[in-house]
Symmetry: D2
Subunit: 259 residues, 4 copies
């Protein structure tokens, strides 16, 4: 039985993580960490009698968990992950906010301590598989465009996932030229351009978070699409990470790199 | 039996029109018009022994046809349609190139002569129905974006059909504001803007001519999509026009206006 | 200012209806009806000080409302709507469970009393527009198939909306024959058959409620798709009904019939 | 410069292969084989002065080609491929009709002779990538259904590609149960069933050859779609095979196995 500590256990994602771990054979929640978590209120957060509760890192006992799931806040995640590695707990981290330097330092630490783990900006399996497949398809179909669709309240365009997809495609795609004679009678009609990869962003109420990658070749087309209807989908990726983390010998960045 | 003269009968679209009329009950090709068409080569163009052949307007005999199908060239279409109306033949016109003034004049002439007919920039039924439905849906869903997808060789963006769709939507849509806080980290990501309606143009090899209109509302979405795989699709609209032209009392612009 | 009574006000749909009416100019909630609703707990249901509360039909005062919104239960809806019509309140009914005989009787009553209103099995605008457009497109594209996609827990197939769509298409479609030489190497691959219209039902977790109608013709295709992400979408249709109910002179069945 | 013999060079696919090879650097057509091909008519088939022409296998000279592209007929393919391997030419075979026993025998022969090559029932890159990605995704999303869409004249359902996709998914998918309480009010609505994987076949005029694989998980969906608009698409796969065949040490079955 693998023991799991959940940091940020009282938050929405932390609670989903509790439900996930409780539903899996061979895993159990052994401890929760959150600023206002107490032995008295822990049952409000689906935590059973045997689960330890902590409010601060320095209260955490040695050996309390094998795995550290982190859905906390940008200002807490660095100390959390460092603590976990230092104490031999394998971190599975969905919290954003680590700088590139912090990530590099934590990876280095994980190598020194021989502790595997995963930091993933996106735990949605459909988004991660889309990016992975798009990168592979781009080797054979250099002509590619991206359409992402989000709810009307999203302010920035394109989405981070769409941009990440373009970057992954750009790493493998042969040098590629768009039609030099192309003209726009409405500026922007051909979309945003990332190294020759066009990205189109749709914003409409009702929509949640969706992305399509469209490839075209002589006489054929290939389209990969993912739809995120609910943040519950992140737990699909956390589940995969829980099952694979034992095979990792250091901290890995990106769910796609453990698939 | 309705008699049909086909102008531009030796061209690709003219030939499709011959096949169409030959396949319909109650219609027959009575005459063909084309610069190099002769009694000797007419059988190369699916024209039977009884079909009259003309190279110039002034050769055409009175009463030779009830209906005039026109798939010619921009420089011929005005004289053709005028000739048809003057001689009581109902024009069904797929040739582009008429100016707004010429169209208005021909409509006026058709009223005076009591001759019905149809000028349609697009005879593809799926494109025409898409525009019609999009206009109707926009009354209930003011939040709408357009994505059109064409082969990589298409130079201009957005497509004429996408722009026509936006214009039709704009006629009925309530005043509408896009999210004022919206920002683009890649210029053009949010597409071209026609009176607040975003239009996105995708250009990829393999693709032919496709358009989607996406509507979003609280908790739901409606999408209308049309695919033109082949110009053969234009004959679907010509067929509808042939059946309806007798009910028209003047020259109508746009297939959607006779549906 | 139009006054609205909401029957079933404490339920999930009733509560959405309160939010809707509160957000609209020229409409106000004047009364709520629900078995456990009291003057004391009404503020828990977004009902202000001036809103009347009723637990039973016989408590309802004359003149308390112009419009009656009903999201109750199958066993209550008949008495509710009869009561509303008898007392001159225009019913807008989303509750299911009326028999065909009961519907016919209520329509007859509405004519006698000159009270307009609407009973709609589906208030989702995207679903209703899809059905309306599908019926219209089928006049020009007799070749049509339906694919509906729902969450994995849905037990019956095809969905009621898909079947309704097929029925509406069947009313207008010309007699039509499927390919008589067609064979299935896996039974059911060609879907269910409603009067020659094939219906395919997909059941997958993650999906919510989605329907596509696919039309094909020579060289082209037309697809109409709707996605219901959330029951909130029903309020889009209720809003349309609230604005149009004054123009109705009798009880109408189906939101599509007032668009 | 790699020399290529094209068997079936006068057929539609053979001719596309000529165009492809002519367009590639480092490859040239050195010979053509076809029953009625002669030195006199070879220019009608895009074959230049230096290209050898053969009507029968026994005329073919040693060393005339490094690679043998085969788009012939079911009754010719076995002898063709055997001949190619025996004479040290690497076969790239798009002709169907080999029995399982013949395939196994040819693979065995290729090992003995140390001749690499490829036999592919489908050279469409989009179809092959769809199958490959679908198999990979099924490891993470065991809930999956397939929809294939073809022109109305296709007699059998489901398509061979859809069935192949299901078989590839079935190889990796964990044991999986469909909802046992599921019922069909129209028989066939839930599609054909291949080991618990539902397959739906749409047949409509206008459509060409399209396939979608739909995956669903908690709160998310992943869809992979391919469209074959034209058999020209097969040349995308032949091109990949031409570039990779030198790295193969035996005859491989299936384009996906060399990607």
């Amino acid at each position: 039985m693998k023991k799991v500590l959940i940091a940020g256990v009282t938050g929405a994602m932390g609670q989903k993580a509790v439900s996930l771990v409780n539903s899996m054979d061979n895993f159990e929640v052994s401890a929760g960490l959150a600023p206002h978590l107490t032995a008295e209120n822990k049952m409000d957060y689906q935590l059973g009698p045997a689960v330890k509760t902590y409010q601060h890192l320095d209260e955490i006992e040695n050996g309390i968990a094998d795995i550290w799931i982190d859905f906390t806040l940008p200002n807490a995640v660095y100390s959390d992950v460092k603590f976990a590695i230092d104490h031999g707990m394998k971190p599975i981290v969905g919290t954003t906010g680590l700088t590139d330097d912090q990530q590099a330092e934590l990876v280095q630490l994980s190598r020194e301590k021989h502790v595997g783990g995963l930091i993933a900006p996106n735990f949605g399996m459909s988004a991660v598989l889309l990016m992975k497949f798009a990168q592979e398809a781009a080797k054979y179909f250099p002509d590619v465009e991206i359409i992402e669709m989000h709810h009307g309240d999203k302010k920035d365009a394109p989405s981070g996932t769409a941009l990440s997809t373009a970057k992954m495609i750009d790493q493998v795609r042969k040098p590629h030229e768009t039609n030099p004679e192309e003209t726009e009678s409405l500026a922007g009609a051909r979309g945003g351009d990332y190294h020759g990869i066009k990205i189109h962003a749709v914003r409409l109420p009702g929509y949640i978070a969706h992305e399509q990658v469209l490839f075209g070749g002589d006489g054929e087309a290939l389209t990969i699409r993912q739809d995120s209807f609910d943040r519950q989908s992140f737990m699909n990726g956390v589940k995969v990470a829980l099952k694979k983390v034992d095979q990792l010998s250091e901290l890995v960045i990106g769910l796609e790199n453990i698939l």
